[in-house]
């Protein structure tokens, strides 16, 4: 007994020792910068000079009264997270429903729908600006084949929606593949039993498959919540890389970058931008907590 306990202690010590490097890296590369960000948000600082002026919570006070931050950046971020999320998961489930059947070339189709998520978002932004070009773009020319007159897809009035379509195209495959992997684990015997009992495919999908992949679905939704708030490259590249992105392509992450580093417009407000970062962090934490709370269910064992 005594020998066993000593061995356990020794293993624990070894485990701790091996965990230390990772822990040190985590503290150094994540926790310290995160804590430092909170600290910087209390200063007026352009990010270039060594002098930082302490302003307390002024940056946050200013942020709460910043009309363009709330009416443009926050509005677009919420739209991407909630409307975009609904569309991404609707398409992902639709694709799952098709690909979880016994169709031929299943692996090929999986790879195909996953492909957009591995392409550089900057390339995707360029690709979609070509597709949307109102004069020679793919979309309007395609509509023209059916005698439908195209529209200006990147008009500022509808730009957020057009970008959302590009995002749905980019991300649906990724979430579909995650959900499909989980669906593949659902035992066929349950599904066959349900079919024998006369359940429709719709019922099987929602009453058997979804409950059985609930933990994976929660993880996927949490991932989307985090990634959608942090979405940056696709939107930033939408401005052509030469100017600040148009309002329709500005979310919290883009606004934060522009405020800290400028983009031809020389803003350079690192302290204020970091206050936006703190708010973004809190938003992500809130979304994760909300997803966990709303989706809380007893785990189905099988």
């Amino acid at each position: 007994m005594g020998g066993n306990s000593t061995m356990k202690k020794s293993i624990r010590r070894m485990a701790l020792l091996f965990l230390l490097p990772a822990l040190a890296m985590y503290l150094m590369l994540f926790l310290y910068p995160a804590a430092r960000a909170f600290y910087i948000s209390l200063f007026d600082w352009n990010g270039f000079t060594s002098s930082m002026k302490f302003v307390g919570l002024s940056n946050f006070r200013e942020l709460f009264g910043d009309v363009s931050f709330w009416s443009v950046a926050v509005k677009n971020s919420l739209m991407i997270t909630f409307v975009g999320g609904a569309l991404v998961f609707a398409v992902a489930f639709l694709l799952c429903a098709v690909l979880s059947t016994e169709i031929k070339g299943k692996k090929f189709f999986r790879a195909l729908i996953f492909f957009p998520s591995v392409v550089n978002p900057i390339a995707i932004a360029i690709l979609w600006t070509f597709i949307y070009n109102s004069k020679w773009g793919l979309l309007n020319n395609f509509l023209g084949l059916f005698g439908i007159e195209g529209i200006v897809w990147m008009d500022p009035a509808i730009l957020p929606w057009s970008i959302l379509v590009a995002m749905v195209w980019m991300y649906s495959g990724f979430y579909c593949v995650i959900l499909l992997a989980a669906l593949d684990r659902v035992p066929m015997s349950y599904i066959e039993a349900a079919r024998l009992a006369g359940a429709s495919e719709f019922t099987i999908f929602f009453k058997i498959k979804i409950p059985m992949i609930w933990d994976v679905l929660v993880t996927a939704l949490t991932l989307w919540g985090i990634n959608s708030i942090k979405e940056f490259a696709l939107l930033y590249a939408w401005g052509g890389g030469v100017d600040i992105p148009p309002a329709g392509a500005t979310n919290i992450a883009v606004k934060m970058y522009i405020t800290a580093f400028g983009k031809r417009v020389t803003i350079y407000r690192m302290g204020y931008s970091t206050a936006m970062g703190v708010l973004m962090f809190l938003s992500v934490a809130l979304i994760v907590a909300l997803v966990a709370m709303i989706m809380k269910r007893d785990k189905v064992e099988y």
Binding site: P21, V67, D155, G239
Partner: protein
Amino acid sequence: MKKVSRSIALLLAALLLVSVFSGCGSSGGQPTGAPGNNTPPPEGGDKPYAGVTVEWASCFNEAEAQAVWMSEMAAQWSEISGAEVKFNFAGRDVLTSVKSDILVGNAPDVIDNDGSELEAALMSNEEILLEPLTDLYDRPAYGESTPLRDNLNGAYSLLSRDGVEYIIPFIYVTSGFFYNKTLFKELNLEIPKTWDEFLAVCDAIEASGIPALAADGNISFYNCYYYQILCQRILGSGKFLEAALDKTGAAWDDPGFLKAAQLVSQLSAAGANYFQDGYAGSAYPAAQSDWAMGGAGMLYCGTWIPLETSSLTDADWEYGFFGMPAIEGGAGKTTDIEAQMMSFCVPKDAKNKEAAKDLLAYMLSKKSCDRMVELNDNIAARTDSIYPEALAEVKPIIDASESYYKNYDGAMSAAPEWWANVFYPADDALFFGNITPEEFIEQIKSESIKFYANK
């Protein structure tokens, strides 16, 4: 045996840690600052900067013509000076790229970028992070005998602070209407001197079957050229900047601002709609490319346009240029010229300041600037340099200049947040024809008051 393997494992873990942390601390290169590098080169000495590595952070990408020129000139200077020049072609986000280096006192020796951006980032009211370049301005360039400042376009003084120069330009940029001279000849069009003549030119081009003007609406700093230049023509230089900084918003009550908005509106979709269809949703560079391929008559832009579009033009294409016409009764003159300057600077914490300045004295020689023009179709900041053929019509305009004003009247760099959050949304809405001139003034006034009240 277990003890031995555990010891080996521990040793390996320790080695791994040491290698990781030593990697973090390493600069990843040879130290560049040899002692005494900040002293001037010895008179008449051969290869006076032998052993020195000048680090250069550039806003250009390696494949761009400007970068090719820089590399070529740096190689030539290296032959003479014995120094090496190490480039970091960081692209337009160069200041983001060097920010942390500057903060930790590891600044590059030379940074190039738009002069206004360098000024805003590195010459803040709190601290000037740049080395004065007065001695560089006062010395002759390589192979010359007159002070460098005597050969530079006078607009450089716009970038000085309290009479001290910290930034030195190498490319001079101004803006105006670009057009195809062949098209103008075919349509018997003359360069318009007044607003009415300009509208007549637009009508004639429209009648020929193409839109008079091209615009990539997703680039707000292109869209706002129209309003800003018209304000300059109507009110004179400096008034727009005053209004941008006015916390009360009262400056916008000047009828000149409304007049300028009315003229923009006249061109927009709310007026004669001289732009190509769907210009509000045109993503750069679609419209300018279409213009270069004959799809539109004119394009208002900076003098970098021939460089960006010359590969798309037909053989008979000939670049023409004219400035925004005078507005009757306006205080601004056509001899007041807008100036944007691509510039060099030397951070005050640079390790090789004297070598960097010597390198710049080489880069700014007439011979070097002529080579730059040959390579990249831009206007050199040196007044005695050759002109690119595509910009030949810009030369007489600049030569006739009586005064210079900063691009966008200096408002973009003096009030950047106001510019991005208040001016851009209002100006885009006016330019796209979504609001009336009166609504524009009301919006910009009320939003300016709100913006400054929140500071």
